[in-house]
């Protein structure tokens, strides 16, 4: 039984996970306009895609959102992680450590809804943000991405030999210098990994973005979703294939960096 059971189980599992993706990639090279009928190999839909203003615009918005929210999330998440690991015990530390991971498990619908309510009431009372659009999506994505970065940075900071920081202190560096000269370079690979992860998370998000976006600020997942509701068109397959490619590369680099930084310590 052992001889065939394990390989079969593994094969079944991987087919279950990847068959939809593979069929999507294969059909993105389909000549036919009908999504379910194979009409020969072609890159026609990729060309079509490049001429689609709406999709290119949405892709540009998505990239901007992903870049800025990943960057802001990395800064905020790193600072949060630093405070939680390095400062001596303060009241509420345990609570804060737990709370920082809460956005990871919070249903997106709730996150999206609560952010929408916040933005609306802020606009009414403070006048900012005026309307919803790029800014509100970036803020919303920063919020949940920061939690991911904080978790990654925290685990790296815990592993780091604290005497490195003490040694820099001992050699005459003030606390701020120590952070930039020693702590930051040492945890940098983990931060880059965190940034990449935040980038892909932001790129993927549909639910939260739908809640907090406004007219003229549709991200790529939002455009795809609205297109698909009118019927699946083959150029969406091509677009999805490209996104899978980007995400795959980012996740691989992030994984490699994390692995390397753990090994080097």
């Amino acid at each position: 039984m052992r001889g065939w059971f394990l390989p079969l189980a593994v094969a079944f599992g991987f087919i279950f996970l990847y068959a939809p993706i593979i069929s999507l990639v294969v059909f993105s090279f389909n000549e036919s306009r009908l999504v379910t009928v194979w009409g020969g190999f072609s890159t026609r839909w990729y060309g079509e895609l490049l001429r689609d203003r709406q999709i290119l615009g949405a892709a540009w918005i998505s990239l901007k959102v992903a870049f800025w929210s990943a960057t802001l999330a990395t800064i905020i998440g790193t600072l949060g992680a630093f405070v939680l690991t390095r400062f001596s015990k303060f009241t509420g530390r345990l609570l804060l450590t737990g709370m920082i991971t809460a956005p990871l498990v919070m249903p997106e619908v709730i996150t999206g809804l609560s952010l929408l309510l916040l933005f609306v009431s802020m606009e009414l009372t403070l006048g900012w943000p005026a309307g919803r659009g790029l800014t509100t999506i970036i803020i919303a994505h920063t919020t949940f991405c920061a939690a991911f970065v904080a978790v990654i940075a925290q685990s790296r900071l815990r592993q780091m030999d604290e005497s490195l920081e003490e040694a820099a202190r001992d050699l005459g560096a003030g606390p701020v210098r120590v952070f930039f000269d020693v702590t930051l370079p040492v945890i940098m690979p983990a931060l880059v990994a965190g940034w990449l992860l935040a980038f892909t998370l932001s790129l993927d998000d549909l639910v939260i973005a739908s809640f907090v976006s406004g007219p003229g600020a549709s991200t790529l997942p939002m455009v795809i979703f609205s297109k698909v509701r009118l019927g699946v068109s083959p150029d969406v397959n091509a677009l999805a294939t490209i996104i899978i490619g980007i995400v795959l590369v980012a996740v691989l680099i992030a994984g490699w960096l994390m692995h390397r930084s753990m090994r080097k310590l």
């Binding site: 030999d161 005497s163 490195l164 003490e166 040694a167 820099a168 202190r169 001992d170 050699l171 005459g172 560096a173 003030g174 210098r177 000269d181 020693v182 370079p185 040492v186 080097k264 310590l265």
Partner: protein, 385 residues
């Protein structure tokens, strides 16, 4: 080779004979007064007083958790004392942060910055001092020559061997010419052979630079080899401070006697005090005769300590020595330069004795032999606690 010659050529800044702690009234260089450190309910260091003199190589010796590292970290400024004062060269350290103290530390893990080259690691402290890049790198280079690592200057720490990393850590800690160098288990990560070589190298460097060293170690051989004086710590208290020889020959407690080297301890009461003689009635050995010592009274509870190498083992009964017992060799460990014996006396007491093997063609006392063991009256150390 030329580096070693350079070190040799320089006159050691501190002559080996100088022992400022023996002279009354010498001003200590580092003064720790009644220092206490508590972590919550746990008292890591309790009421320690310690004076250390310029140019000393002082060892804090104790098992892990005895508070020696905490004391070192308070000197470096990484821990704030709960109460008490630390003075270095006349300056109170209470409000001085670690980056402004005239001390440097060599960490047990070496704590080399993994993202910097060897050269950058060593120059880092000088750059923080405000030295120009060229001057800093020049001095770092000199320091690396002294520890014989000039060829590895451009390498990263993970490309070095353990011994090389240890030398980089030492160079980095010394390059700023601190008034006081703190070393936390500096040789702990090296293997035995390398450790013994490095011990003497460390002493040589210390004497050449004239920097005061405080070394924390749990290794008594290391402490005995390195130190001008040793402070033996236990449960946050310094049990005894003294030169290696004092610590070994005149321990002040059963703990110190047992902790440094090995020892036979017997318990008893002072039986007779005469002008020329003192007698202890011991539980293990019966009456033991000692030269008279001041400060003891009849009936006082005491302990006697004898080092294993102080016993004489003979097949014939010694004629003149009154402190003589008979027993049987129960265990024998031959380790080359010495043999360790465990001898069972007639009353069942086990005595540890060791003999140095000075001749190649001796007929050694062996297992199950009946032997006489004797000890000179002066070899007994009387302890009251």
């Amino acid at each position: 080779m030329s580096d070693a010659a350079m070190i040799d050529a320089k006159q050691p800044a501190i002559a080996a004979e100088t022992k400022p702690w023996r002279a009354k009234g010498t001003r200590p260089f580092i003064s720790v007064k009644n220092i206490v450190k508590r972590f919550g309910d746990f008292t890591a260091v309790s009421n320690v007083d310690l004076d250390i003199y310029k140019g000393e190589l002082f060892c804090l010796l104790g098992e892990s958790g005895c508070g020696k590292s905490t004391l070192l970290r308070m000197l470096a400024g990484f821990e704030q004392p709960t109460s008490g004062t630390i003075t270095i060269d006349g300056e109170d350290m209470a409000r001085v942060p670690p980056d402004r103290r005239p001390t440097n530390m060599m960490f047990q893990s070496y704590a080399l910055f993994p993202h910097m080259t060897v050269e950058k690691n060593v120059a880092y402290g000088l750059l923080r001092e405000g030295l120009s890049r060229s001057a800093a790198y020049e001095r770092a280079g000199e320091m690396l020559r002294m520890v014989k690592l000039e060829k590895q200057a451009r390498r990263k720490p993970d490309q070095l061997s353990g011994g090389q990393r240890q030398r980089v850590a030492l160079a980095r800690a010394l390059v700023k010419k601190p008034k006081l160098l703190l070393l936390d288990e500096p040789l702990g990560a090296l293997d035995k052979k390398l450790r013994e070589e490095t011990q003497f190298e460390l002493i040589k460097i210390q004497e050449t630079l004239g920097v005061t060293f405080i070394v924390v170690t749990h290794d008594q051989d290391e402490a005995m080899t390195l130190a001008t004086r040793i402070g033996v710590m236990k449960d946050g208290i310094i049990e005894q401070i003294g030169e290696p020889r004092e610590i070994y020959e005149t321990p002040n407690s059963r703990f110190v006697a047992d902790f440094i080297g090995s020892v036979n301890l017997v318990e008893g009461k002072i039986d007779a005090v005469a002008p020329d003689l003192m007698r202890i009635e011991t539980n293990e050995l019966g009456p033991v005769l000692l030269p008279p010592q001041p400060g003891y009274t009849r009936g006082q509870q005491v302990w006697g300590a004898v080092r294993p190498e102080r016993w004489a083992l003979t097949r014939a009964k010694p004629e003149t020595n009154p402190n003589t017992w008979q027993g049987v060799v129960e265990e024998l460990g031959y380790i080359g330069h010495m043999s360790h014996y465990r001898i069972r006396l007639e009353n069942g007491v086990l005595i540890r004795a060791s003999q140095s093997n000075r001749l190649r063609d001796e007929d050694p006392i062996s297992w199950d032999e009946k032997v006489w063991i004797s000890v000179q009256p002066t070899a007994f150390r009387v302890l009251t606690r």
